[in-house]
Every structure is written in structure tokens, then in C-alpha cells.
Symmetry: C2
Subunit: 228 residues, 2 copies
DNA sequence: AACGCTCTTGACCAAATGGTCAAGATAATA
DNA sequence: TATTATCTTGACCATTTGGTCAAGAGCGTT
């Protein structure tokens, strides 16, 4: 199940490396610890500067390790980046549960908004990494977007359409609705400096996220004619 | 009216350069032409790779000029980047017209959504440039976000609140509402690869944007209890 | 034609880039 | 304790980075 591939190049398998483990369940404790540190540091750097703009040196410094040591563990900058994308897409996939026509639209949509918001909140740097990747033309995520994710959206869209037919919600285009939810939630990670600058705060707290999530649920459900 | 400044560094004035003109109305025709070419090329490159990730060499190639020639015109990578941000913020500011409590909420909000969408559509690379800048921590736009833009939002927020008091709309937090509109529209530039991948198209056309804009207007107005 | 200005561009620079390698340190196993 | 596998790291490499410079080409004015 390799999620990531690249446009003009062969796919990169997450296993089967000469030295790297990258997912192997059995790895020395020290390797596990260092890989974890490196992944966290790299996520921060790539999220801020993108793939091209992020340097191995910067990652190494953030991780508190010599550059050679970082490369010893991850093999290459590219592989590190891909591993991060895989990790983020795994989190994303873990959030996407199935729905059926017989489910309650209000419940489903609200759960959808809340879980997407929770994901954004739990992994803001991962969200930004994803944003940077897509912003740069999604060179590594093309196949995922056009395949797995597309199928997921279309399955969801069919259910929404059926709900509309049954008069359970307004006949809105489900795809635009899904994009609306994605963008509105994603915003609080990707545009955090803007949000903080305008609200004058230096961080958003638990109650802010509660308030925002409630606001989004209320407005969107009402906006597409779903009463709860 | 210098919009741009940088966190740990002195502000960069857009005028008063040794050779660059950057806004001077009188500039040789050839200079004007080349600067235009360079700006367009640079916008594409920076939008895709961010400030750090975008190289002068790549910009030069995109512009079809030798690197030295690019630097002759723009002085430095940093100055080029700042000029692009200034240009985009000028476009943004040109869109932000004033509103009053006596205006019609439906009209104002719909015009707001439509003009923001039009801006995104007219300048997708500029939108992406802005997104990349904010994603990277907004090092050059901090002051703008915390100053001018914050004031603009808060002025708008007061009017929204008054509308709510008069029962013209639901009592929603105006700031979250504004963020919702910004994010939902911005999405179609910043996440274009995702949008195209999922819809299976290779470009969005006039009617797509019409449809999306109508959808957003309908849902958001209804969602915050504004009837038209 | 001669002057001065703008423009063009290859050569060049120090610094940073991603990545390799070998030699030594440490840990795990016998 | 001896041996093997993992880990650590500075030295090093070719390439790319942003930027300078000087020498010349083009061009408008007198």
C-alpha cells in the first residue's frame, strides 16, 4: 500500500532499504528514538519551507544531531520527505470512516467537521506539510489525490446526493461542500500566523477551537438545510 | 505606505534603490517590459517553491533571461520577493471597500464572497505566493497582518455584530465568518492540484467558478441566517 | 560622429547544498 | 572477554546557491 509516488520517477517503497527501517516493527530502541526525533524536526522544517526550501542541515540542527547522522538514518532528503507524507496520509486515512445512506446526515456531517478539525489541531505541522506539498503542485501526492482520495470523495458524494433526493438536505454539490469543510478547518493550521495576527492572540486555546468548531458545524449544517 | 517589513530586519522601502525603479512611473520601455517578465516568472517560482525554495536561476530560466540580467533589474532575491508581496497586497487592498451598518447584509456578504473569489481566480499564483508566505510563518507580512489587516477585520466585525443585534443575521462570531470566506475561496487557488485531482478535470472553467461561487454564497448566507 | 546612459552577459566568488566515506565509538551477542 | 553489528561523526566532494564585476553592446541625444 504505497501511497506516495512521484511524477516523473519510480515510486519509493517505504520498506526494503539497505539500512533504513522506516516502518519495520523491530528496530533498535536507539534507532526508533532517533528516527522519531528526526521525523519531528523534519516535519517542522518542511512545513515551514517546503521540500526544496528545507535543508538537511536545518533538520539536523532542529533534531540536535550532526547532518551525517540524520542521513545515516533516513538515507536521503527525499526519502525523509516521503516518509513524512506517508505518515500524514496515514493519519488522514485513519480519520476517514465509511458512511451509509441510512445514517443521519446531521450526525455524519458534524462528525466529519469535528474529526477534520481535530486532525488539524492535533497535527498542525503535518497539515502545513501537506499544504506545502499541494501548493507546490503535489509532485509526490498526485496519484493519491487522483486515486484513493478521489474515490473516497465520490463515494461520499453519492450518499450526499441521495440524502438530497430524500429531502434530508438541500441539493448542494457534495464535492464543493467537502472542499468547504476541508478548507475551513485546514485554515487554522495553514494560516495560523494570519489567524493569530488578526485576533491579536499568540495562540489558540481549547475553548477557541471549541468555539470555532461549533460555529462551523452550526453554519454549515444550517447552510445546507440540515436540521438537528 | 510600505506594507512589507521583516521580523528581525529593517524594512525594505520599495523606492530609493541605486538602480531599481520598482514603481517609478518613468522607466525605460525595455526596463518596464523586462521587469514585468521577471515579476511574472518569479511569482510562479516562489508560489510553487516558497521563498527559500525558489532560486534566482529558476526564475531567470522561466523569464528567459540570464541570471545576471535578472539581478541587474531586481537587485536581489529578497527585493524581488518583497516586490511581489507588495503587488499582491495592493491587489488585496484594492478589493477591500468599506461597509456601513445601514448596508444590506445580504448584498455586502455576497459582494464580499464574490470579490474574494474573483481575486483568487484572477491571480491564482499571487494567492499561492501569499499562502506560501503565511505558511512559512509570514516573516515578511507580520506587521501587515497585525496592523492594517487586523483593523480592517475588526471594523468589519463591528458592523456584523450590529447586524446581529438588529436581528438581520444570526449572532455568529464575525471573525470566524470572515476566515471561513477567505479559506473557502483561497482553497481553489492554493489546493488546485487537489481540486483537479478529485474532480478529475485538468482545469476549472468559468462555469465551475460560477457554480462554486453561487454555492458558497447560498450556503454561507443561509448558514448565518441572512435571507435575500 | 561622439558622447553618455541603459542594458547584457559570461566569468567569477564564498557559502551552502545533498550526499559519501572511512574510521572510531558504542552496544549486543557469543 | 572476544566478536560482530549498530551507531557516530568529521572530512570531504561535486553542484548549486545568491551575488559581484567588468567589459562590451545597444541606443538616444547633441
Amino acid at each position: 500500500m504505497t501511497v506516495i509516488s512521484e511524477v516523473g520517477s519510480a515510486p519509493i517503497s517505504s520498506s526494503a532499504s539497505s539500512r533504513s527501517s522506516a516502518g519495520d516493527s523491530e528496530a533498535s530502541a536507539i534507532r526508533q528514538r532517533n528516527e522519531e526525533t528526526i521525523l519531528e524536526a523534519a516535519e517542522a522544517v518542511f512545513a515551514q519551507h517546503g521540500y526544496r526550501g528545507g535543508s538537511v542541515q536545518a533538520i539536523a540542527e532542529a533534531a540536535g544531531l550532526p547532518k551525517s547522522n540524520v542521513l545515516y538514518y533516513v538515507g536521503s532528503k527525499r526519502r525523509l520527505y516521503v516518509a513524512l507524507l506517508e505518515r500524514m496520509m496515514a493519519r488522514w486515512n485513519a480519520m476517514l470512516d465509511d458512511i451509509s445512506v441510512d445514517d443521519d446526515p446531521a450526525e455524519v456531517l458534524e462528525a466529519f467537521i469535528r474529526s477534520k478539525m481535530a486532525l488539524t489541531r492535533a497535527h498542525p505541522r503535518g497539515s502545513r506539510l501537506f499544504a506545502a506539498e499541494v501548493l507546490g503542485g503535489a509532485p509526490f501526492l498526485q496519484d493519491y489525490l487522483r486515486g484513493e482520495l478521489r474515490d473516497w470523495v465520490q463515494a461520499r458524494a453519492r450518499v450526499f446526493d441521495q440524502w438530497a433526493e430524500r429531502g434530508l438536505m438541500d441539493p448542494v454539490d457534495p464535492v464543493w461542500l467537502i472542499f468547504l469543510i476541508w478548507s475551513a478547518t485546514q485554515h487554522y493550521a495553514d494560516f495560523e500566523p494570519q489567524v493569530l495576527g488578526i485576533t491579536g492572540r499568540d495562540a489558540l486555546g481549547e475553548q477557541d477551537y471549541q468555539e470555532i468548531t461549533d460555529f462551523l458545524c452550526r453554519l454549515i449544517l444550517k447552510g445546507c438545510g440540515i436540521c438537528r
